[in-house]
């Protein structure tokens, strides 16, 4: 049988804060705005709650790209969570870039609760950028380091 060439659809993990971006994404939905559906939203209380280890965990679980999004500076529900987060991201994005995970796979944005339209633009942009970059084969390779290949398994 001829093998059907499968089109690559990226898997995006989106860490969004409860108060702004999640609500903004919700607004996009209730306003029936059209958007691509490759992003899995993970709702956290605040961008300040996003430990970089979450991002690594997302790649370990097969994400091809990650988006982190929260309230605009000055709008944080907890006053300063996003300011602390921003300072950490400056380091973390450079660190990931330094080991070869560049900014086409790791995205950041501020999206408020009223910016349903901006959410659609951001998420589409991220999905397109990761689709263009292709599957994150390098991480997938280390994810499968100790997986038993199917043929071997059947012989066991």
């Amino acid at each position: 049988m001829e093998k059907v060439e499968e089109k690559f659809e990226p898997k995006i993990a989106a860490f969004v804060c409860n108060w702004c971006t999640y609500t903004g994404a919700d607004l996009a939905g209730t306003s029936r705005l059209k958007q691509q559906t490759n992003a899995r939203l993970i709702r956290v209380p605040c961008t300040g709650r996003i430990d970089p280890v979450f991002i690594i965990k997302a790649f370990e679980n097969g994400a091809d790209g990650v988006l982190v999004s929260g309230c605009h500076p000055g709008d944080c529900h907890y006053n300063a969570g996003n300011f602390h987060a921003r300072r950490r991201w400056i380091f973390f994005k450079e660190l990931l870039d330094f080991v070869g995970i560049d900014s086409s796979r790791l995205h950041f944005s501020w999206v408020s609760a009223s910016e349903g339209k901006k959410w659609v633009d951001v998420v589409d942009g991220v999905i397109n950028s990761v689709r263009e970059k292709g599957p994150f084969t390098q991480y997938k390779k280390i994810n499968r380091e100790f997986e038993i290949p199917l043929e071997t398994e059947s012989k066991l």
Partner: protein
Amino acid sequence: MNQLIESAKDIFQNNKAAIIIGYTKDKSGRTKPFIAHNSDEAEKLTFNHHAVNNLAVYLTRLEKPKDGKIGIVAKGCDIRAINALIQENQIRRDDVLIIAMNCNGVVENQNEEFSKENTQIKCKYCQLRTPNNYDFLLGELEDFELPEDSQQELMNKLEAMTPEERWNFWESQFGNCIKCYACRQVCPLCYCEQCIVEKSMPQWIETSSTTRGNFSWNLIRAFHQAGRCIGCHECERVCPMDIPLTLLTRKMGMIAMKEFNYKHGMNINEPTLIGTYSTSDNEDFIK
């Protein structure tokens, strides 16, 4: 090192400190960490080009003596670690008595004679050969040009690579890690009572030494040093697999410098970088 022994004896005789953390030479001639408890033991103290260990690591590991201060022999880079611990509220300035040494560089291999070419990498870009925070300052500073810093070259090379090439470089490096955690144990700034790698509910970092687990371990350890690493190169020195760990932490230091004009452990009155924020921090990368 008569000057050091004299001062140490004087410290014990006048009860200025309960113990002194310093270096001694063992029977085989190796220079190693040593804790003196009285003037007799103070005789054994030494300081030389093989005094590589950053003794500041003991400040958070040792039980605080009940009857006085902890004395500590410290080079410039060790002073930065002590300053950093004070900035991070882990120790109080009044609880330590710092016997600072003017430093002319250290050599990692105990069998090698000192020359300015074979010093550790950190000495080649050291900016604190004369310590800036001490109770006593001993030793003579020799005047010499610092030789080329070979790590900077490798750093430039890595930065010029494509992301894929950088990934391959680190994949082969991290692939070697055996998760012995020596890099953490020796680091004066890895003082957490429970390290993230020991958290098991949920488990964030795989404990087995798979390449994937090694990636998350080494990245998170480096990230926890963002704006904090004082560049003592102890992690890299002790790594049994010779992983160039300080490339990562030095990169973090370079960002702290570039983005915030900040260097940790230089001034005990400065607030920490990662514990604070500014409303005008760079956000060019945020959509």
